[in-house]
């Protein structure tokens, strides 16, 4: 079973991401912020990461940057899930190594479709 990590300081968003992807047949782990996310990535292998942008301790951009430096994570898809929709923020995410961007709230069906496409 493919493993996905969702990183968000909002419990409800994490729950909704987990609910959506678990129903689609994925194993989902949760991290409460970027720092926790990095720890989880270090402890196990994930096929895809979905992260918020604005989080305490380590934010989404910092997390992506750090993850991309980890062995075996150069090509692992990372999606940003944020309330931000500004182009400069998206550019920042892309430069850090994000694979895609979703403005909250996400469409469950669309998210599943994209995840299926990315973790084939």
């Amino acid at each position: 079973m493919k493993r996905i990590l969702t990183v968000d300081d909002s419990t409800s968003v994490r729950q909704m991401v987990s609910f959506t992807l678990q129903n689609a047949g994925y194993e989902v782990a949760e991290a409460v912020d970027g720092k926790d996310g990095l720890a989880k990535v270090g402890a196990g292998k994930f096929d895809l990461i979905i992260t918020d942008l604005n989080m305490p301790n380590v934010d989404g951009i910092q997390l992506i940057t750090a993850v991309r430096k980890l062995p075996g994570y150069s090509f692992v898809p990372i999606l940003m899930l944020s309330t931000e929709s500004q182009a400069d923020k998206k550019d920042e995410g892309r430069r850090a190594g994000a694979t895609g961007w979703i403005v909250k709230p996400f469409n469950a069906e669309q998210l599943v479709a994209v995840v299926q496409k990315l973790v084939k």
Partner: protein, 579 residues
Amino acid sequence: MSSTLNSTGAGTLNKARGDLHWVLKTTEDSIATLVACFQGLARHADSTLSLAAAIVERVEDRSVSSVLSSVQCLGAAAREFVGDRLGATSGIIDTVTAEMELLRKLSMVTDGQANVAARIKMLNVHTKIEVAHLGKVGASFEYLAGELADFSKVLAKSTDELIRHTNERKSATEKTRQLFSVELPHLREELTQIEKNLSADLAALQSGLTQLSNAPVQFRASAEVISGQIAGVVVAVQGHDITRQQIEHVQEALNSISQAMEMDGASGKGKLQEVAYSHAGLAIQISQLKAIRATIADWTSRVRGCLGGILEISASGLAEIGPLVLEQERSMSAQLSHIELLERECLANSERIRGTLEGISNLSQLVSEHLQKSESARNRLRMLNYNSVIEASRLGAQADTICVIADGIAEVSVEWTKITEQSGSALREILSLSQRINEAMATFSQAKSESLGEAQAQTKAGLESLRDASTFAVAQGQKIGIETDAMQLMGSEAERTSGLLDSCYARIDAVLTLVEDAKSQLEAQYPDIVEYYDSERIERSFSATYTTEAERDVLRAALYGTEMPVLQQCAMGNDVELF
């Protein structure tokens, strides 16, 4: 800004921040409970859909939709079956009535025959007396006497036999007539009842089968709606996270304004600019709070609506179809049993008719034999008449009495000829009756009810499938009932939690009042404060923490007097943009 106003305003804003903290905590707790309820509801909805899917699969597997046409065929065949037998029974009653009339005529024939036999016996006695009287001369008449004696015996025996059989037939025919006279109204009543019941049952079954046949479509629609409602909840719950951030931004702004209001060092234009910064900040936060209130109301309403929708769809008709169709199947099976019973009754009637036919056949056989004997007797009588006339004329005056006997034989012969013709007529009538009975028999025969048998077999098979599908649907329906009961409990819990969220509006309204009071106080002291706005600085300062376009739009509306943005939450959520 006076120090009193400073401390009052800052205190007010701190209280507002405290209230907002309460709103944050309450919405956080409420959303956690709602999410738990939602996950439980979604799980139960999934189980419900699986149970309903099994019903649908069974309905499709058992070709339930084809049952109706089988039952309709059965209805038509049963109507035809009963109608045919109704007609045949009427025909049999007519035939039996005709037979009774025939038997009455036969009785008259046998009476005439008995009379003829008695008269021949008398002629025999007279002949014997005359033979004794004539002595040797009358020896030739001894043969005539012997012939008459023998003929009288044969005739008496044949007549007795016919009388006995006719009486037996009278009794049997009366019984048959009585039986069918009772049977006819019964059959008419049955036909009316079958028509009525079949029409009612067919209408009910059609309705039930339509519902059952629609189950796959209904199921797919329900599954789609539930899926849509679940997606709606997923989006609405994320709405909470957006408002959480927005409330935090207002809290931060109020903190910043409070700090600005508490700074007492500036004077002159610098002081006015700080007051203007606070005033603009308060105006912006008022607008943000109004937008937040509307947003919370929106996602709370959508969560509530979607959870209610899941409950409503899950508890919809699917669970109730099974018992409904099972009840209709039972009613239809009872109809089928009734038709079978009627069929058996008709079979028993068929046996009775066969008995009537056999009776008539025997009668026709007997009358036919009797007719042959009568014709033979008529010839013998004629011969006896000729012989006695010839012998009497040869003897002349001595045989006057014999001439009287010969005349008697001639009279009897004429009468016998009449009786023989009547017997012949009776035989023809009997043959006609036999033909009519045969036709009735053909109606009652097994071959004629083949179409009914076929319809019954098809209906039985169809009803078995229907029973299987509906029994399964009942069992699944009970499980669905358990699931929906659990969902109702979760729905009630979600409803209570939604009630808590409603209290947040009152608290936000209270915060709005506090912030508006603080703003009014500034306006009372500085009526022209808007003229000191440094819009660029204010926008930059307050939008620094913003993460949503909605917040930025609200800020611009408040600061530049543009129109407030209309709340535009994407109900189905946003798509993924791949780089």
